[in-house]
């Protein structure tokens, strides 16, 4: 029985009162740009009917950057420096008890767990999941060797209920690659009892299970802004306005976004979630723990259909070394799924130094390696895709609770780097958040319970044990492997020290002067392909007549800094060729943003040297269309 919406065209009198105070600090507003950049444009169209006159942030109230206050639970929170109060009077609003942003493993696990608790306790509470992809699973990409630990707890009868988990791991190999050879090394992984799956397929199944329990899932709607009340508490999200043309004007099909209010809001947007990043910054959740910055890697993946004779379901292979050099952390994976399908991909840590590195081209090189080539010959590529993933682990997890909700899954960052698995921990975090949320409604408890149960769970224990592997590679591949071996075989996770991460990924890029361009071989069209061909296989599409969702905080920086100092790295690390430097009429190279290609991987948001590129969410229903990734 879901709670029916209240389609009230209400204007919140509280908010109106506050907006009239409009404390617009004109001085150091980083979002205001001289030529009225498209970022300001975006906000204008969130509030077209404001009565406070025409200027980009007329409806926002700015409070001072300093100033602590205690919220009712006794925790100190700093006032966020930017509050957006919509003075929308004609935006509809819908209310739920729990609002979840993102229909991925974490979001759906939270929804399922919450509804299970409702059933067990004979309580009727509403759960809404909003998802930017065109359908559940369309934006899900992962290796994936699945550890069923969390699923066993969540839906113990998954096998009888025909979850798409059917290929147990049959062999688990680890190789060091040189240009011509593959050297077998002792495998640091223990994948017995795990399964080779397509996470996109599993998430679709979980979506069905969630709907059976009464969770309302709405794919095709992007959560583009967080809604706050007068006490800086998160009260929900607003979806994107749809039907805005490239120049910002309203098309005939214009539809206002909708306000989705939740008594609790759970952010499950995946790695580098756009709203999660804003929340973490606003509430200073990293400082609160305290946690280090998050570090990331970019994973580029293809699913191939190969010859029956070459296909061995359950075979798992990981490699390090070639084509990456010893200063670049990363490696490849090759998993045999069912139906003659194999998943193959390359993961490159985004703290690489060489601005000329092109992770996509490195992946193409990899497929030509003599140990890998024979497997792929005669096969066809079914799908292609890319996504960033967290590598910060234990040291980078922010305090995941904020007034009005919590952050779950990869948006917080629970991936276990040495295991290369984040699905099971993301799911468990969703389940724990759901249990805490239920406690809030049913017993008047606090969302901080989520933090406590997280720290007492196997997620924490696992991530704590795994914390030193990745930072060890700051010293290079060989020292990294040595320290990893030390951790794994001798210290067995009981190390007395905690290594720290190096510079944030975007600061690690060195200037182009210190490096020389890398000559990548041309694609042969059989094993390796050019970007447009690969992109076509990702089923990516966006409504082309919409404002570009990739915003430049300062539109001059690409030509003033990125191009001369770093040789335009965004034109190399983007796996979808969104960024291109094209000569204009005066033969000057100018940045062209092909936003329609975007795979929603978030690499640009992470790696841009001056953090000038901001990934914002486009109109819902766009983006890739993964089905077997």
């Amino acid at each position: 029985m879901h709670r029916f919406l209240s389609i009230s065209l209400k204007s919140n009198s509280l908010r109106r009162h506050h907006s009239s105070l409009s404390l617009y600090t004109h001085l150091s507003n980083p979002l205001n740009s001289a030529n009225g950049s498209s970022y300001a444009h975006h906000h204008f169209y969130q509030n077209p009917t404001s009565q406070f006159g025409f200027h980009p942030f007329f409806s926002s109230g700015y409070s001072s950057l300093t100033g602590f206050y205690t919220n009712p639970t006794g925790f100190y929170f700093m006032k966020p420096p930017f509050r957006s109060f919509s003075s929308e009077t004609d935006r509809e609003s819908m209310e739920y008890d729990v609002l979840i942003v993102g229909a991925g493993p974490a979001g759906l696990s939270a929804g399922i767990r919450f509804k299970q608790l409702c059933r067990e306790n004979n309580v009727d509470l509403s759960v809404c999941v909003v998802e930017k992809g065109p359908e559940v699973g369309a934006h899900i990409l992962s290796g994936n060797v699945f550890e069923p630990r969390a699923l066993d707890e969540l839906l113990p009868h998954w096998k009888q209920e025909e979850a798409p988990i059917s290929v147990p791991v049959s062999s688990d190999k680890f190789c060091y690659l040189t240009k011509d050879r593959a050297v077998l090394l002792p495998s640091p992984f223990h994948n017995r009892g795990n399964y080779v799956i397509s996470l996109s397929q599993l998430v679709r199944w979980m979506g069905m299970k969630a709907e059976e329990l009464g969770v309302e899932i709405y794919p095709g709607f992007s959560a583009s802004e967080v809604l706050y009340d007068t006490n800086n508490k998160v009260i929900g999200i607003g979806t994107n306005d749809m039907g805005i043309a490239k120049d910002g004007s309203k098309k005939d099909t214009f539809q206002h976004g909708v306000e989705l209010r939740g008594r609790l809001t759970l952010l499950a947007e995946g790695c580098r979630g756009s709203l999660s990043e804003k929340i973490i910054k606003n509430y200073k959740l990293r400082e609160l723990r305290p946690a280090q910055h998050q570090t990331y890697a970019l994973g580029i993946k293809e699913v191939w259909e190969v010859d029956e004779s070459k296909h061995k379901p359950g075979v798992v292979l990981h490699t390090v070394g070639w084509p990456l050099d010893h200063k670049t952390y990363g490696g490849s994976f090759l998993y045999h799924m069912k139906d003659r399908q194999i998943a193959i991909g390359l993961v490159v840590a985004l703290n690489y130094h060489n601005p000329f590195l092109n992770p996509y081209e490195e992946f193409q090189k990899l497929k030509h390696h003599p140990a890998i080539k024979p497997l792929l010959e005669g096969g066809t590529v079914l799908q292609y895709g890319a996504r960033t993933l967290n590598e910060g682990g234990f040291q980078s997890i922010p305090y995941p609770v904020f007034p009005g909700g919590a952050i779950i899954g990869c948006s917080a960052g629970f991936l276990n780097v040495p295991k290369i698995k984040g699905t099971h921990t993301a799911m468990k975090s969703g389940m724990l958040a759901a249990e805490a949320a239920f406690g809030v409604f049913n017993e008047g408890l606090n969302m901080e319970t989520y933090w406590d149960t997280l720290q007492n769970s196997w997620v924490w224990e696992e991530l704590h044990k795994a914390r030193n592997y990745r930072p060890a590679f700051e010293y290079g591949l060989v020292p990294g492997m040595a320290i990893s071996a030390l951790e794994h075989y001798i210290l067995k996770g009981r190390s007395p020290f905690t290594l720290k991460h190096g510079k944030p990924d975007h600061e690690a890029t060195e200037v182009a002067l210190l490096h020389s361009p890398i000559q990548y071989p041309k694609p042969d069209g059989v094993l390796s392909f050019d970007v447009p061909t690969s992109l076509h296989r990702s089923n990516t599409n966006h409504e082309h007549d919409q404002p570009a969702h990739l915003r430049l905080r300062d539109p001059k920086i690409p030509e003033l800094v990125n191009l001369p100092d770093y040789a335009g790295p965004e034109s190399r690390y983007c796996p979808a060729r969104v960024y291109e430097y094209i000569p204009d009429e005066k033969s000057q190279l100018k940045l062209q943003i092909n936003a329609q290609n975007c795979l929603h991987c978030k690499a640009c948001d992470i790696k841009d040297p001056k953090q000038n590129i901001e990934w914002t969410v486009p109109e819902g229903g766009g983006g890739p269309g993964y089905s077997v990734m």
Binding site: L5, E92, P134, Y218, T239, G243, D252, V258, L260, N539
Partner: protein, 251 residues
Amino acid sequence: MKIMVAIKRVVDYAVKIRVKPDKTGVETNNVKMSMNPFCEIALEEALKIREAGLASEVIAVSMGPPQCVDTLRTGLAMGADRGIHVEATTGLYPLNVAKIFKRLVELENPGLIFLGKQAIDDDCNQTGQMVAGLLRWPQATFASKVVLDKEKQVATVEREVDGGLETLSLDLPAVITTDLRLNQPRYATLPNIMKAKSKVIKKYTPQELNVDIRSDLEVVQVTEPPKRKAGVIVSSVDELIEKLKNEAHVI
């Protein structure tokens, strides 16, 4: 006046399709399906006419497997008043669809029928024309503009034809199939999706409607088009003529 709109559930236009290994058809397993783009345009036109006060009700009709209900729900979310689902597990060819449609028209008595000009999976471009033929109603296909005159019960339709634009005047009831430039379909908003959950979808089977859906057509094989061969640069006109004559057999 009621308007009936035909809606087909097809492979989404952005998906890269491939042929099934056994060559019996296109792989539709694990593939995103959506409403046929021309059907969206047809539904949008019907909704516009209803909103102009010239029609009382828009009924969305779909035929096929149980999942068609999802596509119908999208149609209801766009604004259709109710839906009809004719469940058929075997494939339906245009003539079968047209025959079932005729039966539904006899039951519902609409004054106007909209269909998309063709479905993007089979590109048949036949159903609308067959429906008009079976019902003996006037038809206007490839409509790029529709103007209704309710008093005179006449529809003036501009059609996109090879030579340009042709304007036809049809007495109602009539069948119109829609082309790309007719309108821009609206988005289904969240509140409308929620409202659509409570709208009615009536289910029928072809047997209940007394329609025989055996087909005279049978798909024998589906293959990918042959890969484009690389071009050959010829060095002289003589060589060109020789190749055109002996290899391409065109002169």
